[in-house]
Structure formats: C-alpha cells, structure tokens
Subunit: 281 residues, 2 copies
C-alpha cells in the first residue's frame, strides 16, 4: 500500500490510473478504522480495480464545541488494517494542504441538511460536502462507498454528486454492528464501561419502533413516544433527536404512508451516537 500525502500527487496518480482504464474505488474516512469502514473497503475491492482509502480528520465538519481535538486517531493501526485488505493507496493529507491559508470555497446542499443532524450541527454538512467534493476531485473515483449509519450524509452526498455532476457512483453499504447490535463507530471509544453496556438500547429502541410500524401503527408521534420511553428508562441517555422521515427526501412525516427511516442521535456523556433503521411498509 502506497501512502500519499500530497493532493497534487494523488490527483496525478488517479488521472494516470483512469488513463490506463482502471476503475477506482474510494472510501473516504476520518481514520480510527473499525469493521464498518473495512466493510466499505471490501466492497470497493469487489467493485473496482484500484482501491483508495483516505484518512483525514476534517476540521470544517466539526462545530466549535465538538470533539475535533479528542477525535480518536491511530494511523499506524489503520495502516496495518488496510494492508491486510490489500488497499492500493492510502491518501492521508495534512490540513494545510487541504485548506491552505487563503482557502475560501464551500459547497453546500440546501433543504436535505436542515433537519436531523443538521439541526443540532448547523455547519456540519457544509464541512462534509466541501471535503467530499474536494476528495472526489482529487481521487476521481468511479465508485465511492459510504455506510448507512450516516444515513443523512449518504443522502446529502448523493444529492451533491448528482447536482454537481461529480464522477463517482455513490454506493451505500449496510451498517455494521457489534454482536449486541450497537452500530460500529469510532466514537464508541468514548464510552465508559457502564455506557457501553446500555448503548445497544439505541438500536433496540429503533427496532421496537420498526415493529410497531410493521404491526400497523401509522402515527409518527406515537411511535417516537414509545422509542423515547424505551430510552428514558436509562438515566445516562440524553436524546438529541428521534425522528421518522420519508425515505424519498428525509422530510419528517406525521402519518406514515410509505417507506420511512427511523433515525436517532443520542448522547452518552460526550459521545454523540447516531443510528437508524429503514422501514418498508
């Protein structure tokens, strides 16, 4: 695996690979890789000739009081993991190369970014779309693979890619979970022993909501109330949001009349964990 630091060098490699007719698969990450990330790498290896993984803890997607400084990092461990999967290139740029001193350009997706995580993290998606559009222009992939855990991010990136005529096909992989159902996340590292024990209740409560819908309940408020009550049994949870949204446009629904996503963001001390389930009716 070749480690590339420089953006121009990475772009030149990608242009050369494309000229050679190679299909490029791309997995953008912030590092501290877990099996969720590695499932995306595996998917890229199946789809493409060449797999590029990026590790960049992107400052513009963190709010001022968020966890940029404490975000877990383990480049050495990440390299070992990626080498086992025969990844071709690790793109690991410095922040100064991505955002030089006179940097001034931002990419923004409207509407889709207003609710769910966008409400509690108002500048988050602008940071995500800016960095992802840059990475797409540098790596020039045929396929870019994202995990369904970050479901709003998946929708926003699909929208941006289509709107800006960016090159890659966006591939969404299912959420990878621990044995007890907790969605894998680099932020699970923040959990204390006690928090880790109760954390799977998030996914369980979403599944409870799903079951209620499948049994016929169509009133979103009632379903959210049940999920909320399930989580509030544990004093350590602080709910950011629990919302039921349309799969077509991520807009909140009151009455369920088609396929929906039940999405939640929950704090356990400093860890803000997100998860979601899709419900097809």
């Amino acid at each position: 695996m070749k480690i590339i630091k420089n953006t121009k060098e990475m772009q030149d490699i990608s242009l050369r690979l494309r000229a050679e007719g190679k299909k490029i698969g791309f997995v953008p990450t912030m590092g501290y890789l877990h099996d969720g990330h590695l499932s995306l790498v595996k998917r890229s290896k199946e789809l493409a000739d060449i797999t590029v993984v990026s590790i960049f803890v992107n400052p513009t997607q963190f709010g001022v009081n968020e966890d940029l400084d404490s975000y877990p990092r383990d480049l050495e461990g990440d390299c070992t993991r990626l080498e086992k999967f025969d990844v071709d290139y690790l793109f690991n740029p410095d922040a100064e190369d991505i955002y030089p001193a006179n940097y001034h350009t931002y990419v923004e997706v409207e509407t889709l970014t207003e609710n769910l995580c966008g409400r509690s993290r108002p500048t988050h998606f602008r940071g995500v779309t800016t960095i992802v559009s840059k990475l797409f222009n540098i790596v020039l992939p045929h396929y870019a693979i994202f995990g369904q855990k970050d479901v709003q991010q998946c929708y926003v990136i699909k929208r941006m890619t289509e709107d800006l005529n960016l090159l890659p096909q966006i591939i969404i992989n299912p959420t990878v979970r621990e044995n007890d159902g907790l969605a894998m996340s680099s932020r699970n590292k923040y959990l204390t022993k006690e928090e880790r024990i109760i954390a799977p209740a998030i996914y369980q409560s979403l599944n409870t909501g799903k079951e209620i819908i499948l049994k016929g309940e169509r009133n979103a408020d009632k379903i959210v109330a049940v999920i909320t009550a399930t989580l509030e049994k544990y004093l350590l949870f602080r709910i950011d949001y629990i919302d039921i949204v349309d799969t077509k446009n991520l807009q909140k629904v009151n009455e369920i009349t088609g396929d929906v996503i039940i999405a939640a963001a929950v704090f356990l001390s400093k860890a803000r964990l997100i998860d979601n389930v899709i419900v097809k009716i």
Copy 2:
C-alpha cells in the same frame, strides 16, 4: 462541430477524449458571441487538441430584477461563428438538465465575492461558481479560458478551482475592444445610438486614472474622484462603482503601494457595463 445537449453525453465524450490522451480546452459562455469570446476560442485552439465551447444563459447568476429574460440570444449565428473557428464541440444544455426540479447544491467563494460586482449583485457569484464548477465536472477540461473584462469573475474562478482541486488550468485572456475602446460585451446590444457614442468614455476614464497613478498619485480617493468627474460630464451614465483594488486579493486600497486594478461598473439605461484596467507601478 458537434452540438451536444445532454450533460451525461458531454461528460462521456470528455472522459473518452481524456482516455485517448487528448488535451481539452474549454470556453464557457452565455452565447451571443462577439470577438471577445472568439479570442478565447482562438486561445483554446492554440493550447488544446479539442475545443469545447458551452452556451448556457445561466439563470442562477441573474438577480431577480436583472436581465435574464431579455439577455440576447442567437444560437444560429453563434454556431456559424464557432464553425469558422473549427470548434469541436458546442455544449448547449437545457436549464432542466442543468438544474433539475430537486436541485439543491451551491458552490460559494467567500471574501473575494463581497466587493465590486458582488456588492451590487449579491447572489451573482454564487450562481457563477455553481455553474462553472458543474461545467468543469461535465467537460473535464485541461484548460479553461476566461476574459479579463470580467476580472472579479476570473479571480473567483481561479480561487474556486484551486480550493476545490478542480482539473483545469485557468487562462485569462486580455479584454477585446471595439475600435473606440469600448470593451466588447453581449450587453452592448442594449445600448441606444446615443449611449453607444458615449460608452467608450468608461474605458477612457479608467485610462485617465491609470495615467494619474503612473504620474505618481497614490491616493485612491483622489483618483476615483477624477474618474467620477470624467464620467459625470455625461448625464446618461449612472455609476454603480469605481474602485481601486489590490491585484493580489481584489481588496480596496486607500493608498496605492503596489499593482492595482481600477474597476468600474456603469449603467447606461438598462445596460450595466463593466470594465477594468491593470496598473503596474
């Protein structure tokens, strides 16, 4: 010359040309082509193997009370002109293909877009950067050629291209002028006979300012006052702005200590004409 309407078809052609090792030169326009545009086409023909010209009157760069509907159009005449220059592809998409109903993504360059034309046309550059980033992603050019008349646009597009790691090298061509000095512009068509006679005073007044600087004057307000007085001799002019800005960052200067641009926007009835001169001291 092949006329391409569909964005996907244009992108596929560009990908194929790149795979064949061809260098692509690109001239984005809003049509109603004059010798200024054609000088850009000529430059592309010199630089690249394949020249793509786009004609698209981009609605998102016009303000609500601006001249989108009356903007001059002459596709047939444009085709004749481009064929004489052996242009390879004319990309002429429909607005519905560029901005479909669920379109939601915008590209914005901060700081550089705040003064000069950005002050009187607050949403203009956001429209320009959005369409140009889209066109760059569709046409995937090695070179993109713009005219110095739109000097702020040139700076903004250079900044965006660098910031978003877009592929083309940005080439700036000198302003092409009528025999009497008036900068060529599709909007000159709006001028009445009387307005057309006095319009060259804009460029003349900028040159007067330039001469004053070259003779040693360094106070920007004094120079702007002379230019303003020159133009105010003609009752038909309505000055939008006359500013002296630093060539490094387009920021307004009070005291001239390095190379500057004198830039002006002036209304003659509904025609808003812009022009600028660079002054190297």
